[in-house]
């Protein structure tokens, strides 16, 4: 089953999840809301056939949950346990936002994203730049790993040598390739009429479906529920 969500729904989800992530859960009930909210993007990932990513997120998230819950009650003294608990709770804290953001970035085509932003009347400058940012993270990762391979071949490793060398050897080639890719990207984009005077049309037809409204409703309800039970009691 291919569940196609409107990019606007996805943006709304990011918005809600980031808002909830900032308020920490204090009671079991709130934890339940939070965990449910985290599960939705994971389920959506499964629906979009990103099984490996979904599994990775589930394992990481539940491991972090388990560790932080189990040791939270005990007095965590000492460097290692403080470190571990701190680390896990950061994962628990920010993982929902990370999963949602990852899901949105992975499953939204740039074309869809741009036309959704246009429909919401966001200025062109922000839309295009943001679309490039989204598109660019995987590219940076790819470029970085090939640079790392090249460094390995020359025997330049992390840890050895001084810090500035390590930073310099990695950053400069990365910047070089990013600048070049950027030039190519803008040539390609201008060829396709980006930045022209006329209003662009889009191949992607955007329509809010039943699933969209349901998810928006669910996330709004979750947010309201969370705020009410955290602050009104």
């Amino acid at each position: 089953m291919a569940l196609k969500l409107d990019p606007r729904t996805k943006l709304f989800m990011i918005f809600i999840v980031s808002a909830v992530v900032m308020m920490s859960a204090t009671t079991p009930l709130l934890w339940a809301v939070r965990i449910t909210m985290t599960m939705i993007p994971i389920l959506l990932l499964i629906a979009e056939k990103h099984y490996a990513a979904a599994l990775r997120f589930i394992v990481l998230y539940s491991a972090a949950l388990l560790i932080s819950f189990k040791f939270l009650s005990e007095n965590s003294k000492g460097f290692l346990s403080a470190f571990l608990v701190g680390y896990c709770s950061i994962i628990v804290q920010f993982m929902p936002a990370v999963i949602t953001a990852w899901y949105v970035v992975r499953t939204t085509k740039i074309g869809e994203f741009v036309s959704a932003m246009q429909k919401m009347h966001v200025p062109d400058g922000i839309t295009i730049s943001l679309a490039v940012v989204m598109r660019f993270f995987p590219t940076i990762k790819e470029e970085y790993s090939s640079i790392r391979d090249a460094m390995k071949m020359r025997g330049i490793m992390f840890g050895g040598g001084n810090v500035t060398d390590v930073v310099e050897y990695r950053m400069i080639p990365l910047l070089f390739s990013c600048v070049n890719i950027g030039d190519e990207l803008s040539a390609a984009a201008v060829t396709r009429g980006l930045g022209g005077k006329v209003k662009r049309t889009s191949v992607q037809e955007l329509k809010m479906g039943g699933a969209d409204y349901m998810l928006i409703l669910m996330f709004t309800a979750a947010l309201v529920f969370f705020v009410v039970f955290k602050y009104m009691k």
């Binding site: 308020m23 859960a25 701190g86 950061i90 953001a101 950053m171 910047l175 930045g195």
Partner: protein, 196 residues
């Protein structure tokens, strides 16, 4: 392009450099897990490491608005990654002011660029805003959320409403130092290669 409006090429440049800057910030941010004092030292690390892409970015700026848009993007990314919206006004204000300073130098004067980078680096302090503005509830949140009290004590000793002034000044100073380093690196690598 002779007019003053930003074109598609400019937007793409902004996007690329914002992504690079965020990667730098993220890499430094991970180090903050180790010890809270490292969180305070972001003001030193990020301006210096981030200065290389920033100075390269400055060489590409010709029109007003590029730095401002970048700061808006940074604010959006910070919100999405769960840093909150409290810092957004500071980020955008720093971006616009830095933009105005650089504009007054015609985006060519090195002195103005240095100053502008110093101001732009103030956005890093926005990371600390949730800690300061909502100190008490934030602390409670952290402890309830499972951070060890030790971590919190250290964090709040390093960052509070008294030290924020120092942190802001440090940001600015290291932004300026970073600008010189970044300029040197850009000169060493990119100008020789003819990229700029």
């Amino acid at each position: 392009m002779d007019n003053n409006k930003l074109g598609a090429k400019d937007f793409i440049t902004i996007g690329i450099f914002t992504a690079l800057l965020f990667v730098v910030e993220f890499a430094c941010g991970i180090l903050g897990f180790i010890h809270p004092y490292i969180v305070a030292s972001y003001v030193i690390m990020i301006p210096i490491v981030g200065s290389v892409p920033m100075m390269l970015f400055y060489t590409k700026i010709e029109k007003f608005g590029m730095l401002s848009i970048m700061s808006v993007l940074l604010a959006i990314i910070m919100f999405v990654t769960g840093m909150g919206y409290l810092g957004a006004p500071l980020i955008i204000a720093a971006g616009v002011i830095a933009d105005l300073i650089a504009k007054s130098g015609g985006y060519k004067s090195f002195k103005k660029t240095v100053l502008s980078h110093g101001v732009f680096c103030l956005w890093i302090c926005a990371n600390y805003f949730p800690v300061i503005v909502t100190a008490d509830s934030y602390r409670k949140n952290l402890v309830d959320g499972g951070y060890s009290t030790e971590y919190c004590d250290n964090l709040f000793r390093a960052i509070n409403s008294k030290t924020i002034a120092v942190l802001l000044i440090l940001c600015f100073i290291f932004g300026i130092i970073g600008a010189f380093i970044g300029k040197a690196v850009v000169k060493k690598h990119f100008e020789k290669a003819g990229i700029v």
